[in-house]
Amino acid sequence: MITSNKHIKAFITLLSAALLIGLSSQKGFSQSNNDIVKVKSSGSVEQTVSNLKKMVSNNGMMVMGNLNQGQVLSMTGISVNSQTLFVGNPQVGKKLFSADAGVGVAVPVRINIYEDANGQTWVSYIPPSKTLSSFNNPKIDKIAGMLDQKLQKMTSMIK
């Protein structure tokens, strides 16, 4: 019986490892590092921003602002390709700010699209459940969870 349990455990471990290797080799797999979710994009930063804008709308959200950080930073002499979308919607805004007027520190949600040193485009964000968790408010946590799902759905559509 003990031997059989050992075999099952070993089998599950091997299966999990295989699954992880398989998933991580897939294009567009989300990486999570220190609460930052990163998703690969095969397009350029500009193409990805354009596609994301459509996905944002399809998922019941609005792009409230688009900060071209690369262009702003070009004034300092540095060359980076990075844009940030500020995403929200009036309903979520109303609910969050009604629950706590201080939520402005974390919303609208920021989605960063940038090109790394190897020319790879990434889409990254910090899940709202992380940025809003310090409010310790169940109403906010519920909305944050919903926003997490929307962001995950949106970014999973990135090719």
Partner: protein
């Protein structure tokens, strides 16, 4: 070119131009471009072309066409006053996700992050009323003088189109605004009033019954 043919061609031009305005906001919300760009390169030229056709039709004494243009535009604007009364009431009661003309204004002036200003509000309201005028022109050019209740059907179709559009979807209020219980009745009542005013005034002010091809 005979009068009938030139009237038809010019009417088609006005129809195409009038169709631009109401589609810009949904297109921008769907991520196909920005409202500042759309306003500058599509909305303003479409208004200029409609005005040009109207002046030309007046000069050439294409009276049926010129009358349908101004009746449609004016009836549409007055219909929008009715629509606005319902919409503002609905918004004050918390039944709408936002103040639409103000939202249109901040999108057009690219100041979403700063919020509305007097100028953005003026532009937003002007755009909303122009949409009413555009829908009015589409109605009168296509249908001519028809019983006023046809306007109600037309208004309800516009309301349905709005609720199904990316403009509503982007507000996070569910399919056709179903997550915000008061929204659907407000939108339909407002568009019902718009359509009935438009239909009534078009019936009263137009003389010609024929639809587009029988103008």
């Amino acid at each position: 070119m005979d009068t009938r043919k030139s009237t038809l061609i010019l009417a088609l031009v006005v129809l195409a131009m009038a169709g631009i305005s109401p589609n810009l906001y949904p297109a921008a919300m769907a991520g196909y471009g920005g409202m500042p760009f759309f306003s500058k390169w599509l909305l303003i030229p479409s208004i200029v072309i409609i005005l040009g056709v109207f002046i030309f039709a007046k000069k050439q004494q294409l009276t049926t066409l010129s009358r349908r243009i101004w009746v449609g535009a004016l009836a549409g604007i007055i219909g929008t006053v009715g629509l606005e009364i319902i919409r503002i009431f609905g918004f004050k009661m918390g039944w709408m996700p936002g103040d639409l003309p103000k939202l249109l204004g901040v999108l057009m002036t690219d100041r979403f992050m700063k919020g509305p200003s007097t100028w953005s509000n003026i532009l937003g309201y002007a755009y909303h009323y122009w949409n009413g005028a555009a829908f009015g022109m589409i109605f009168t050019l296509l249908l001519g003088r028809k019983p006023w209740w046809i306007g109600i059907i037309y208004g309800l179709l516009i309301g349905t189109g709005f609720l199904l559009s990316p403009a509503v979807n982007a507000m996070g209020v569910g399919f056709m605004g179903s997550d915000l219980p008061g929204m659907i009745p407000v939108v339909y009542t407002a568009h019902l009033l718009f359509g009935s005013i438009l239909g009534y005034l078009a019936y009263k002010w137009l003389h010609n019954n024929g639809w587009l091809l029988n103008m």
